[in-house]
């Protein structure tokens, strides 16, 4: 039968406090990544490459940037008779009177949409993670086990496990996976190293029933409520072991690190090899001319997208479209988002710079050039940093800062609003 049987739902509503100014105006899933894309492109590209093309995106927080990015879905070939991307924002109705109260509530509020598609398996994913996975392999395991729920798990160091949903599982299928015996969301003292990737495949009837009974509760999260409930009630919940790269970018430091994983001789994140796709219509990056390097340009170990002009020095950095690095400027260990002008003799070391900003002459941000910066310095969007200013390492500058609020020196770790 031609009609596809899998419905994928991407949880893309969340803002992450630790990502601070980067999620001031956009959900985490819409944070730029990889020199031209957004974080959610990983989930969408995985879906496309897995041949799953019925997709719904649950979005709540500041969704404009995300909606704009998804466009028609054509970028991921999700447009056609049985191929689509639908964005499902919160709504009011005779029954619904509230925002999404949690990930499970978001899916519950859209059950009519889900049931309409008569899926045989429902794949629920987070739009916030950086990884490549063939979901078909997970679906296969799910069917082989005739499971009610199959979740993807990754082995993490025990000392980090408290940050994740953690599952204890038996050795039923060795390297491939096993039955889940216990599940704890962010446990204080974790007993297992197997962390949930927030990739969950449900048997539809089980999901519907679980979501309905969850409505009586006061918490509505898949990790905290739905999965533990199903494990406790003895449903067939399986863990699918995943061993590839996984970028869990909850903090600015982690976000910066996963960007650095794009660099090097053999990058841990291989955009081309992973079949990474993004929407080139977003911000019109389709029409940007190739990178223009000037006669004094020095570029090493960096990713630079079309539309950039480099006359200065760029090392170990990622430049999104339309970044201008003028003569004498040095950008190192940094991630510079769309549309930034870095003027003459400006120095940046370990900086994440959000969109639409300019940096005056001789501005110095982060550690001294060439030295090792320990902390990431973050600059929010729409800032015009006046010439000569010194922003020391680990500082955070809020978006849209007024001209009069700039001090001569922003101290280490200072938050400038």
């Amino acid at each position: 039968m031609l009609r596809p049987t899998t419905l994928a739902m991407i949880l893309a509503g969340g803002r992450v406090d630790e990502l601070n100014v980067l999620t001031y105006y956009r959900p985490k899933s819409a944070v730029p990544f990889g020199g031209f894309g957004r974080v959610i492109d990983f989930a969408l590209s995985n879906l496309m490459n897995s041949g799953i093309e019925q997709v719904a995106i649950l979005s709540q927080y500041r969704s404009y940037s995300l909606i704009n990015h998804i466009g028609t879905g054509a970028a991921w070939d999700m447009i056609g008779r049985y191929r689509h991307v639908s964005i499902l924002p919160p709504f009011l109705g005779t029954e619904a009177t509230d925002w999404y109260r949690g990930s499970a509530d978001a899916v519950f509020k859209n059950l009519d949409y889900v049931e309409y598609h008569r899926p045989e398996e429902i794949l629920i994913l987070s739009g916030d993670h950086i990884y490549k996975m063939d979901y078909q392999d997970l679906l296969q395991y799910h069917h082989a086990k005739d499971a009610d729920l199959t979740i993807a798990l990754l082995k993490v160091p025990l000392e980090d496990a408290h940050r994740f949903g953690v599952a204890a599982l038996d050795d039923e299928d060795g390297e491939r996976g096993g039955r889940i015996l216990g599940y704890w969301e962010k446990p204080v003292q974790p007993e297992s190293q197997w962390a949930s990737l927030t990739v969950m495949c449900f048997r539809p009837e089980v999901l519907y029933e679980a979501l309905r009974s969850n409505q009586q509760s006061s918490s509505f999260e898949f990790g905290r409520d739905i999965i533990p409930m199903l494990v406790k009630q003895n449903f067939k919940v399986y863990g699918y072991k995943f061993c590839g790269y996984w970028g869990y970018t909850r903090t600015v430091e982690e976000y910066w690190q996963s960007n650095m994983d794009l660099l090097g001789e053999e990058p841990r994140i291989d955009l081309e090899g992973w079949g990474f796709r993004t929407n080139l219509e977003h911000r019109g990056i389709r029409g940007y001319q190739p990178v223009l390097t000037g006669k004094s340009a020095m570029i090493s170990n960096s990713l630079i997208y079309n539309g950039c002009t480099v006359e200065g020095e760029v090392r170990n950095s990622i430049l999104f479209p339309w970044v201008v690095v003028k003569k004498g400027a040095v950008v190192e260990n940094s991630v510079i988002f769309f549309n930034n002008v870095i003027n003459e003799n400006c120095r940046m070391n370990k900086v994440v710079a959000d969109v639409n900003s300019s940096y005056g002459r001789n501005v110095v941000i982060g550690a001294e050039p060439g030295s090792t910066a320990r902390k990431v310095t973050v600059i929010g969007w729409n800032n015009h940093v006046p010439p000569q200013i010194r922003i020391e390492e680990g500082a955070t500058v809020y978006p849209n800062l007024q001209k009069s609020r700039w001090p001569a020196v922003v101290k280490p770790g200072e938050v400038l609003r």
Partner: protein, 426 residues
Amino acid sequence: MSRFKDALVLILAGGVGSRLNILVKRRAKPAVPFAGIYRIIDFSLSNVMNSGLRKVGVLTQYKPLSLMSHLGMGEAWDFTGRSRGVKILPPRTGDKDSDWYRGTADAVRRNIDFLADSPAKEVLILSGDHIYQMDFDAMLEYHRSKNADVTVGMMVVPKSEIHQFGAGIIDARNRIIDWEEKPKKPRTNLASMGIYVFDYDYLMKALMRDKDGIDFGMHILPHGIANHNVFAYPFYGYWRDVGTIQAYWEANMDVLRPDSGISPQKWEVCTNVEADGRPADRAPARFGAQAEVTRSLVSAGSIIQGTVINSVLAPGVIVEKGAVVKDSILFADCVVKKDAVVDLSILDKRVVAEEGCVIGHGDNHEIANRIAPTHLYSGITLIGKEARIPPSAKIGRNCVVDSNVDAASFEAELLGDGESILIPEK
């Protein structure tokens, strides 16, 4: 409603452009790649789009496949929508055996049904093989203000070059009073850019008047100048006919110089990045730890580990460690392997320069290509699509290596200056 600019646009994209040698072996001149991600016709199409014009016919004839796939539905230039459209107009067989387009005016005449359907008051006719930026809306305003039957875009060129153009002599009001097509002895330095605004009714009558008038420059314009109102519209910006290898190479190099006056980005030139069926969302260009890239254009999807100087790289070009690319133009997905050298050369798509080979060898730029001395004479070497240059090969200056050539076709390690390796057409 004056906001509606309803002039009809016809782009002549049928020319062979044979002086571009093997670059036009399998594509029409307007479809030849330019400045990394563009094709020559993008400049005309973008000018049309940025002038607010919305109805376009593209007249094709010679090897149109590459051009047609590039145009697609016209989304790239915003030509899709209720009141917009781009139509490909290939030659059609009619009541005579030979219905190929015989000239510019003939091509337009054979699409008179396309013209007849249009409510336009003016028809803008341009060539699809020039690199320039121009506001056609301003030209249309000028045409109306002069009450002209025809307005011709013209610019000043050195007198030594006037023999390649239609040349016009104007009066104080810019009315053209005399015309010479490709004059041997220059009397003026005012050259036609092949851009014409015709009053719609005037064009229809002119095309019908004399069916042997097959060329605008040779027939329609001289008749109009002698009998009607033909005006020159002066143009002062960057404009190049990239119809020769030399001019093509120079215009590409101009993009690298900030003061040259050409800037696809500033001109808002749009292109269809998805031609060839390869979705063009390639990863950002990757610069390795030892990369040295100066004065160059580097497109997305390229991986540079070696040295690139003064060169234009299309998407997906790989330059390995120790390799040097200098003063060259590399089309999409070329690979320059370890320690190979590419100097003063143009490499068509997917050329592989194997480890240690040299393309553009030696210091003697003076020996012109023996087969095509008028195409290659300044030192530029041409490598055709998908050719593989074997590891120790050295290819001299002004050479041509045909598409799909591989090691088997190399008789010796050295291909001397001005020599060619051609595969006969089957």
